[in-house]
Amino acid sequence: MNLFRSEEHLQRWLADRKPGATESVGRLCELAHAWYQHRLAPGWRPRSLEQNQAILDRLGLTGDFWRLG
């Protein structure tokens, strides 16, 4: 899970690799907040796969690539 300066840099890095999914860092920031905001809470409990999938879905991260299981 990497960061790139621009689309040009990303495409050069991908070269012969099979592309995965590309998002803006703004979307990444939203994702990280939704995923980790309760990680240190005293009442933390593990999320189910369905709960994790719902987080991705809410952010529009849908399709086969983003299916967790």
Binding site: S6, G26, L28, W35, R67
Partner: protein, 147 residues
């Protein structure tokens, strides 16, 4: 996850955030009055449950996601301390977990030049860098270090 595993998990996260380093198996046993055998078994269960990540060849913590327990190429300055993360996602995750702004020091995976991102009020500055995930979600945990 039962009460013992949850208690150990919460102790590890709490101690790591408090001190900036991960407790050893010996410390874990002493602090929570666990035998070494029970402490090791609990760590392995938490690893298998993806609640933490152990080193491949040792019973030592590699990740308490979003934190990296070992130095990495991802440095995050937040809450008065420098942390390491495991990837781009976890870098922003550290600010999210600590509920604070921060500064992410990373590099472009292509050219290697530094990329600095400030997190201000849950927003990245600048916001025009790109995030790429190579591995499909269903395979993230096949090799979480590579992912």
């Amino acid at each position: 996850m039962d009460a013992l595993d949850l208690g150990v998990r919460n102790f590890l996260y709490g101690r790591f955030v408090e001190t900036g380093r991960s407790p050893s198996v010996e410390e874990l046993g002493t602090e929570l009055s666990l035998s070494r055998k029970d402490a090791e078994a609990t760590l392995r269960r938490l690893h298998d449950a993806h609640a933490l990540v152990l080193e491949r060849d040792a019973l030592e913590l590699r990740m308490l996601n979003p934190f990296s327990c070992v130095p990495s190429a991802w440095r995050i300055h937040a809450a008065g301390r420098t942390w390491y993360s495991n990837c781009a996602w976890d870098s922003f995750g550290i600010c999210a977990a600590l509920h604070t702004d921060g500064r992410i020091e990373a590099s472009c995976a292509d050219c290697g030049e530094p990329l600095i991102v400030e997190v201000q009020g849950r927003r990245p500055v600048p916001d025009d860098y790109l995030f790429h995930v190579l591995v499909p979600a269903s395979h993230w945990w096949d090799d979480i270090v590579f992912t």
